[in-house]
Amino acid sequence: MIRFLLNEQSIESALPSGSTVLDFIRTHQRLPGTKIGCREGDCGACTILVGEWVNEELRYQTMTSCLMPLGNAAGKHIVTVEGLNMRSLSPVQQAMVDQNGTQCGFCTPGFIMSLTGFLLEPGSGDHEKAIASIDGNICRCTGYKSIERAAALIVEMARARPAKGHLDWLVQHQFIPEYFLKIPARLTLLEKDLNSQMPLVRGEMMIGGGTDLVVQKHLAVKNASLDHVYDTSSLQEIALENGRVRIGASVTVTRFAGSPVLQDHFPDLARYIKLISSTPIRNMATLAGNLVNASPIGDMTVFLLALDASILMNDGKQKREIKLRDFYLAYKKMDKRQGEWVEAILFEPPGENRRFHFEKVSKRTHLDIASVNSACLVQLADDGSIREIHLSAGGVAPYPKYLAQTAAFLSGKKPAGPVLEEAIRIMNSEVAPISDARGTKEYKRLLLRQLFLAHMIKLAAAETSVHEILFA
């Protein structure tokens, strides 16, 4: 039995835990306001709000219900557009009406959910954050300008929102219905029930946020007995341990980006993360999921490769730690033994002397899979030579590539023009891109060179050398 709250209602469902929340909402509960646009998390028409306890506080996040396994709803508050409707329109709904932010209307409930999610987020909400909240919602009609105008109105209205007790304020001003005030108590009750009933069965398939498995194998996911690890608290921690950052396997990209530890070490983290999928997907996708998906282009994988991260594998009896760069063997083939799962990711943070940079270029800058992505970690010596370098790239090999030879060549050298030229030659010998929907192989090689040069400008003060190469 999966138990949770759906809008104002208590739910107990015996459906397979791998069926999607979207189908449950639309078919089994006949709440048709949540729309089916793509079933792969790329349009946002099925966006819902998911409320759960985070550090003693009820927090709501947007998720794409098409990819969310029903089992991941257990103990949570699921909100659809029907659950926001009141006697009159909420100010969010009214703003979208007033600014003509809706034309055919099919994407609209998703936008309403995301913008309401923006208001449910504690803390100050500026225009940039309001727009970020709808970065996963695609609209084909409006060209977004009217939606931007609606968002501006909403930001204006939200200025009066207090830092503490914002739920009360939102109810008082009819942004959300009154029943929201009873949700914390109801969730607490539900949680107690769940804890006493939670079966401790290992499933045959492990699933995190579902953002990849549900896209690739939705029937298999639905028919398998699943091991839901998304909410496993022991896998959700980010900590500093013996000088290394330890990230639990179920840490989501959102949690990663929000971690003060990581923000300290990566000053540009927010800028990098903005290039990676969308808000609802980042709310669901786990880091370990990105690693074991073994996509040749995984953004977080490429990010972690350049940190020369290790992963902690566990098969229930034994643990072992291996370098991420040794984990990938061939296309979608990993050094992952029968029954093993990733428990944690470990890396030494850049620290004072080492600097990190991430680059990604895709056909559409945001909410897209990279044509080529690349990350680089550099420590410079006092004389400007490269003391240590790690370099990774995606989209240029059958698996996420740690560019070992290029890095080895650059170590100890000053990033002068001829050195960079030779490094590029070596780099080209290390990669073997193929032509596909994300670009021709010739383009990917050129782009890899460009991103490498961008790293060198950013990390190795090599602007002059780069000019020598590009403007020769």
Binding site: P32, G33, K35, G37, C38, E40, D42, C43, T80, V81, L89, V92, Q93, Q94, M96, V97, N100, T102, Q103, C104, G105, F106, C107, T108, P109, I112, I131, I134, D135, I138, C139, R140, C141, T142, G143, Y144, K145, S146, E148, L219, K222, E359, V361, S362, K363, R364, T365, H366, I369, S371, D436, A437, R438, T440, E442, L447, Q450, L451, A454, F471
Partner: protein
């Protein structure tokens, strides 16, 4: 006494919006289904061209939950869904002509069961040659319809005398409509051998006609109802028919309700897109940069069946000279048959493809001569009294006016100076700009389609029900129809309900397309309202005066005689009229006057009027990474007297962004085997909120010239899309600012890949 009251008939914005923001608006998949509903899934071809040598679905039929599997031989009527030309089967019969062509229909209790069954179907093919390139198809003589030629003056002999003559090649890619709601239909049998079908279609009558043909029924047995569309953009003008016919056929044979709604990936690989074009051109100018002659040959990639391609081809020719007056023109167009899904309508309908070519030709000439492209563009804008290549005389042109007004507003000279100075000061960032004039003809180019009907019921309590042939797909036509009826009756719009589009209430409709929906259906609606008003006015006179010459009118629901308020208001007038057995219903009809076109000489007056405008697009290219941003699009648009500013603004902004998408990131990729690689939203990218121009500024020209538009509010659906073409040329200019020898052909879309290859090529 005439008391001034606020005008209650005015609406601003979209009446459907409250339903949308609450999720209460109903689309096909939201209609409550009847018990026992069957899910219909399509088994489609995995090869682009071949003979089916083996097909066995007996194992699939054994999958639990499978009700029945249908093939072409199970079709009760004709296996034919071609609209303009009967050249397309509903289900492949022996041969397949494109990847994604439907072969079998799986009827199952659940979608999952159908999916399991599909995996158990065994099929093999004897391969036949696959052609995806229209020029190759042309060489082999594979045409979908006869080629067309429009001529004016004598292009060939005049080219010989031009000071400047340039030839080149221009290409534009396909574009996926990507309506957020996929195709789909839901059908159930009704008594008297009938069937009712809810379809997400722009063309309810086309769906009705197709189902009647496939089932072997009279059209009167087929009721098609369209609640609303989650976007259409042309993709549901003709191609909604197959999905509706599939649902109808299964429902009809099994005598059960049936729903056929494809998954996004199925929709993308099984349906056609905007036709890609490859074109050759020659342009000739005199020493004063006047365009003296223009020749072009368009090779349209039609796909495997005609669909709407012949009509799209025609519109390419109509817009081959865009906003320019060119005295000598010869433009030729070939609709080429390839092994791709039949390509189809998409906002602009061949017009954008034609305009891109003349803009490329002008740009090439300017670059070679060494003048700014805008100089040649401005010099050759059309004025009243000149002749289009198809014989219509230019009237009420706003081509020059919209350009000059935009120039006055934006100061083109200053933009140019700013761009030059920015580029001089930045090594890795370069800016570019372009001007894009647009002239778009309003009417279906097939004259016969320019007709519409509307049905109006005034109920005895004074509320009003309106049915027209117009399909609401986000363009706001429901709102505009309510405005027409409210303004005509002089009543509160809240009293009027727009009904779904239904073939039993309004028959023989033209599709909601060609930007003409509000014009045609609005005028038919006006006719119906006027009939009822005439009867009501006559009744008022009978009741209150003996003088036939007095004027009766209704303003803000009050009935006036000679501007004097009477005892009647709308509600009691209607009640009294009903008691006196006055007919309170009417059917209106409209057929656009004046227009005609003679295909045998390719001359006539095909358009009721033209819509004009000009756009200035400014961009910045990151020359290290090859990425770019569209900084601003500023538009001077000719909307006539817009009847609904917010709705028309929304059409402009949305159209511009769609046009920019087509020119930049939207890349439909087929491999050599004709298989779609950009087959999901993860590989086919349309603009998101971050990629749209930081600034879109649309200004409406003040144009009160009489026109044939509804309430003088000009059609606005398609024209703005073509402003987006400016993004291509602005980006190209920015790339040239980095590398003046950049190999950057006139080939859209200009993806980050092409930009980077150009920057360093």
């Amino acid at each position: 006494m005439n008391v001034k009251k606020p005008d209650t008939t005015r609406i601003s914005g979209n009446v459907d919006a409250p339903g949308h923001v609450t999720g209460r608006s109903v689309y096909v998949d939201d209609i409550p289904v009847i018990e026992g509903m069957v899910h219909v899934k399509v088994f489609d071809s995995a090869v682009a061209h071949g003979k089916i040598s083996f097909l066995d679905y007996s194992a699939a039929e054994q999958v639990p939950g499978i009700i029945r599997i249908f093939s072409a031989k199970d079709i009760p009527g004709e296996n034919q869904i071609g609209g303009i030309i009967p050249d397309e089967p509903l289900l492949a019969d022996g041969e397949v002509h494109y990847c994604g062509q439907p072969v079998l229909l799986i009827a199952a209790d659940t979608a999952d069961a159908a999916e399991m069954a599909i995996r158990k179907i065994e099929i093999s093919f004897t391969p036949l040659p696959v052609i995806t390139d229209p020029r190759e198809a042309f060489k082999l003589g594979q045409l979908l319809s006869p080629s067309r030629v429009f001529t004016l003056g004598d292009a060939r002999s005049n080219l010989a005398h031009c000071k400047y003559v340039y030839s080149g090649k221009a290409e534009t890619g396909a574009q996926e409509q990507l309506y957020l709601e996929t195709q789909g239909a839901y059908a159930y049998p009704t008594e008297s051998d009938g069937i009712k079908v809810y379809s997400s279609t722009q063309g309810p009558t086309q769906v009705q006609r197709t189902i009647a043909r496939v089932l072997g029924l009279g059209m009167n047995r087929v009721e098609v109802d369209v609640p609303r569309l989650g976007g259409g953009f042309g993709g549901k003008e003709d191609q909604a028919s197959s999905w509706a016919a599939m649902a109808a056929m299964v429902s009809w044979i099994l005598k059960r309700p049936a729903k056929c709604i494809p998954h996004r990936m199925e929709d993308m690989r099984m349906t056609g897109k905007r036709n890609p074009y490859s074109s050759d051109y020659t342009i000739g100018l005199d020493e004063e940069f006047r365009i003296i002659a223009f020749e072009a040959t368009f090779y349209q990639n039609g796909g495997a069946a005609a669909d709407l391609s012949p009509a799209i081809l025609e519109r390419t020719l109509f817009h081959a000279t865009n906003s320019y007056h060119i005295p000598n023109v010869k433009v030729t167009a070939h609709s080429c048959k390839t092994n791709l899904p039949p390509n189809t309508a998409f906002r602009g309908f061949g017009g954008p493809q034609g305009m891109f070519v003349i803009e490329a030709a002008i740009d090439q000439a300017a670059k070679h001569i060494g003048v700014d492209t805008t100089v040649i563009q401005r010099k050759n804008l059309m004025d009243d009294g000149t002749e289009f290549p198809y014989g219509q005389i230019v009237k009420d042109s706003e081509a020059i006016n919209s350009w000059d007004e935009l120039d006055a507003h934006c100061d083109l000279e200053k933009v140019r100076a700013e761009t030059v100075s920015f580029n001089a000061g930045n090594r890795f960032l370069k800016k570019g700009f372009s001007m894009m004039p647009v002239c778009f003809g309003i009417s279906f180019t097939n004259t016969m389609m320019n007709q519409a009907r509307a049905l109006v019921h005034v109920y005895s309590d004074g509320t009003v029900g309106v049915s027209t042939g117009a399909v609401e797909m986000g363009q706001g036509v429901n709102t505009k129809m309510i405005q027409v009826a409210a303004e005509s009756f002089g009543i509160d719009p809240a009293k009027i309900k727009l009904e779904s589009t239904n073939t039993t209430r309004v028959a023989n409709t033209s599709p909601s397309a060609a930007s003409s929906t509000a014009d045609l259906n609005g005028k038919a609606l006006l006719d119906a309202c006027n009939q009822i008003l005439d009867r009501l006015y006559a009744f008022v006179k009978t009741e209150l005066t003996d003088n036939e010459d007095e004027t009766v009118e209704i303003k803000n629901e009050v009935v006036y005689i000679n501007e004097e308020a009477t005892v009647f208001n709308w509600t009691n007038l209607v009640r009294q009229a009903f008691l006196k057995r006055i007919n309170l219903s009417a059917k209106g009809h409209y057929a656009t006057p004046i227009i005609h076109f003679d295909k045998s000489i390719e001359k006539g007056h095909p358009f009721a009027y033209h819509v004009y405008g000009t756009a200035l697009t400014r961009v910045t290219v990151d020359c290290l990474r090859g990425t770019y941003t569209i900084d601003s699009v500023q538009v001077m648009h000719d909307a006539g007297i817009s009847m609904n500013g917010p709705v028309d603004l929304g059409q402009c902004e949305g159209g511009i962004v769609q046009g920019i998408g087509w020119m930049t990131m939207e890349e439909v990729i087929y491999n050599e085997e004709g298989k779609l690689l950009s087959n999901a939203l993860s590989t086919y990218k349309i603009p998101d909120i971050y990629s749209v121009p930081a600034k879109i500024e649309v200004q409406f020209l003040k144009n009160e010239k009489p026109s044939m538009a509804i309430l003088k509010s000009k059609a606005v659906g398609e024209p703005p899309l073509m402003y987006g073409i400016g993004a291509f040329f602005a980006l190209r200019n920015a790339v040239l600012a980095f590398n003046e020898n950049a190999p950057i052909p006139y080939s859209a879309p200009l993806t980050p890949e092409k930009v980077l290859m150009g920057l360093y090529g």
